[in-house]
């Protein structure tokens, strides 16, 4: 892009063709007040605070929407401009009910800081005191219209960053308000609860219930970390006061992995369950009682070492350091039964990839950012809006902003189905035939030459009869044909699949999906949704048992001893407690008391991801680090240290 030169406040500055005057000012550290401008969003020029004087321009113009041109002469701070800026502020303050003294955002409010900056100690206009409402119907987010300045930052964030477009302006003129969907209560709307709106809000008009009045950013320490809850690995900025996480923000919502979701933004702020604060040991009466680390290690060394056949199971919620130490410990115990809780998923995915291309590994999977660039997205048996909401947002953004065509194969309705170009609704358990029919439909539409290039991928689909398959599946053949037509024209299509496919433990099905992916792009792009924050880390470390599920072995009573590394995983506890049979001595390392810890002989405490430093590998294989945001309220060793100590205490 060609360079342009401007004269701003008498100083020669450089910019790029296509920049706005505001871009040039910001790039050259020229201070301009803004309210409706938010980095990464489209500019609307709503607040009129960034007004500048431009030579030969009849009026004052907003810098945020005015294109910078070569040779422009700009003034950003004249008496006239300052006068108008103060006037704008007074109008904003008198338009609605801005009463800082009891506002949640005071001390963290762009409008207030600008009023301070312009020494706005009174307003010359009549206050309107409109009777505005407050919508607190949402469990986490409050929308208080009294403090809204209608800058539209929340609306643009919801649409452009989250891709949900749940918020928009409703009504007209004086009565304009931010409203959810068709003016529904926020809690009943299509809001995905990502919290982007309140992070973008320059005032206290949208705020988080749980963070409200718990500390201003100026009173908090800010810790840069990574969210370890799911495998997306979003960058987070935790605000901490008095050893509590008060709020979780994104360091930059517009960057890759900058967008947060409901889970990442709110879950770490709540205490989920009873914590295990000290090691616990079963006494003579069969009760679990608190003991020292030494006693616990000693008991483990004595009993677990003596067990004939020890099984080791790790959750993908543990960090990589802990998983490495876990592998070493199991090695020292001579265990052949080591697996992760989602081992089945890993075996299905890996074997599927091997069937498709024996040389490829998990690395062949696409990066999450590829979703944003894709022309076509196929979502099969996955509900990313629920399990990995940021991936859901990526898909919705691609569909709404880039006009990506969306094909959904799922028996159940999910948030994608109403945006989908085609929604194929096969009966439960019949995805394979649907995929094959779709593959054949694509083949039918591929130009002959392209079909020739892709001949090695077509074998899986050639034999399928689209008409017959559609009839068998009870879906409209025209839908399949239409989907085929759309996908055949794609150069960089991507397929996202998840638990709806993996639950069948069918590697052949995964291979078929990969073949389908090969037909819709120059190279096959797929993303499998892995269950835990560090699933991919555990898979890459080779913790997954190649032969078969150890959890299934445990259910069949094949192991006498068990070491279970749960970390802060709560979800699997009940199922494990119900299924494990015939174990004489069980050690559980977990953060929370749960049904499985109540069955254990020794329980070791485990730090939460918010309390520890650790490495996590995202779904698409990127290594990310967490930083401790808070200190555990008890003396708890890190998972890796605990496991190393256990190994050290084992009898040789």
């Amino acid at each position: 892009m060609s360079e342009i030169r401007l004269l701003i406040n008498g100083k020669q500055v450089k910019g790029k063709q296509g920049d706005t005057v505001l871009d040039v000012c910001q790039a050259n550290s020229i201070d301009l007040p803004t309210l409706c401008h938010y980095k990464g969003l489209t500019e609307v020029g709503a607040c009129r605070l960034c007004l500048v004087e431009i030579e030969k321009e009849r009026n004052l113009v907003p810098a945020c929407t005015y294109p910078a041109r070569d040779g422009q002469v700009v003034l950003t701070s004249t008496d006239k401009l300052e006068k108008y800026r103060r006037l704008v502020l007074e109008l904003l303050f008198t338009e609605r009910n801005h009463l800082c003294a009891y506002c949640v955002a005071t001390g963290d409010c762009d409008l207030q800081s600008l009023a301070y900056k312009y020494q706005m100690d009174n307003a010359r206009y009549q206050y309107s005191w409109p009777n505005q409402t407050t919508d607190s119907s949402h469990p986490n987010i409050v929308l208080d219209h009294n403090r809204c300045i209608l800058c539209g930052r929340c609306i643009r964030t919801c649409d452009e960053i989250t891709g949900a477009h749940a918020l928009d302006f409703g009504k007209r003129g004086w009565k304009t308000n931010v409203c959810a969907d068709i003016n529904q209560p926020l809690g009943e709307s299509s809001c995905v609860s990502c919290g982007g709106c309140f992070q973008a809000c320059p005032t206290g008009a949208i705020f988080s219930k749980i963070s409200a009045y718990r500390g201003r950013p100026s009173e908090c320490t800010s810790v840069e970390s990574t969210c370890a809850i799911c495998g997306v690995g979003c960058n987070i900025n935790g605000l901490v006061k008095n050893n509590r996480v008060v709020r979780i923000d994104s360091p930059d919502m517009t960057k890759p992995r900058g967008l947060l979701c409901e889970i990442g933004r709110f879950e770490p702020l709540y205490e989920a369950a009873d914590r295990v604060t000290t090691p616990l040991k079963r006494n003579n009466k069969g009760q679990l009682v608190s003991c020292s680390y030494e006693e616990a290690f000693e008991a483990i060394s004595r009993k677990l070492g003596a067990c004939d056949g020890v099984a080791g199971l790790a959750s993908g919620k543990a960090n990589s350091e802990a998983l490495i130490a876990f592998a070493d410990l199991m090695d020292k115990l001579g265990s052949k039964m080591v697996d992760t809780l989602d081992g089945d998923d890993c075996r299905t995915v890996s074997q599927g990839i091997a069937k498709f291309d024996s040389k490829a590994g998990l690395d062949m999977e696409a990066k999450l950012e590829d979703i944003l660039a894709a022309e076509c997205i196929v979502v099969i048996g996955a509900h990313p809006t629920r399990t990995h909401p940021v991936i859901g947002s990526y898909v919705m953004r691609a569909a709404s902003k880039n006009k990506a065509q969306l094909v959904v194969i799922d028996p159940l309705r999910n948030p994608f189905t109403f945006r989908a170009s085609v929604w194929l609704k096969p009966p439960e358990g019949n995805k394979e035939l649907t995929i094959k029919a779709l593959g054949k439909a694509i083949l039918d539409h591929l130009p002959a030459r392209a079909a020739g290039d892709k001949s090695k991928y077509t074998a899986a689909f050639k034999e399928t009869d689209v008409k017959k398959a559609s009839k068998d599946l009870g879906i409209d053949m025209h839908d399949v044909v239409k989907a085929g037509e759309i996908l055949a024209g794609s150069k960089n299509g991507i397929i996202i699949y998840g638990s709806g496919i993996l639950q069948y433990k069918d590697a052949e099905l995964v291979a078929t999906i990969l073949n389908l992916a090969a037909l819709i792009g120059e190279k096959p792009r797929v993303i499998s949704l892995k269950r835990y924050g560090n699933s991919r880390g555990a898979w890459d470390l080779g913790l997954v048992n190649a032969k078969g599920s150890v959890a299934a072995d445990l259910a069949r009573g094949k192991a006498r001893g068990l070491y279970l590394l749960l970390a802060d995983d709560l979800a699997d506890s009940q199922a494990l407690a119900d299924s494990v049979k015939g174990v004489e001595f069980a050690v559980v390392q977990a953060s929370y008391r749960s049904p499985i810890t109540e069955k254990a002989d020794v329980v070791l405490p485990s730090l939460l991801w918010t309390e520890s430093k650790g490495s996590y590998t995202t779904i698409d294989g990127i290594n990310k680090q967490t930083a401790p945001m808070v200190k555990a309220r008890a003396e708890i060793k890190t998972d890796a240290d605990t496991l190393k100590e256990v190994a050290r205490h084992l009898k040789k």
């Binding site: 009463l99 003294a101 005071t106 301070y116 100690d121 009174n122 009549q126 206050y127």
Partner: protein, 178 residues
Amino acid sequence: MAKVKVATVWLESCAGCHMSFLDVDEFIIDLSKLVEFRRSPITDIKDFTPVDVGIVEGSVGNEEEKEVIEELRHNCKILMALGDCACFGGVCAMRNTLDKEAVLKRAYIDTPSTYKGKIPVSPGVPALLDKVYPANQIVKVDCYVPGCPPEPEAIKYGLTELLAGRIPVVPSNIMRFD
């Protein structure tokens, strides 16, 4: 040099601004050498005499307050609004989004702890204005020190400037609305 005469009034507000004024620490000793307090909640003098500086804390929400601020304006050369209520309406202005009648009904009849409540009609109780107003919407105000309450630093700045014969505008770094 004759002492500067100051009158302060406390209208619809919590007295926090006067409290914050007393928070200026030893400055109050220097100040007492330079100024003389006439009518003020601090001196408990109730009648107005002409003064140089009038300071108003609180917003204007009823007939009596309106009368008081008008009389203060009449008797002072320079009027300073002290605190958010006087400058912007403040917490008292929360009632402005509702009708006067709804506010009275809520306060005197609907409150859960009230039994057989009645809205007072005695001429001894000043009637509410339709809305709560900041000082500058009733009378001319010359300078403002906002804050809820204002920082003692800001009050000190405002008074020092006035004593030096200048009209103060509180600098950004000590201005607070909360």
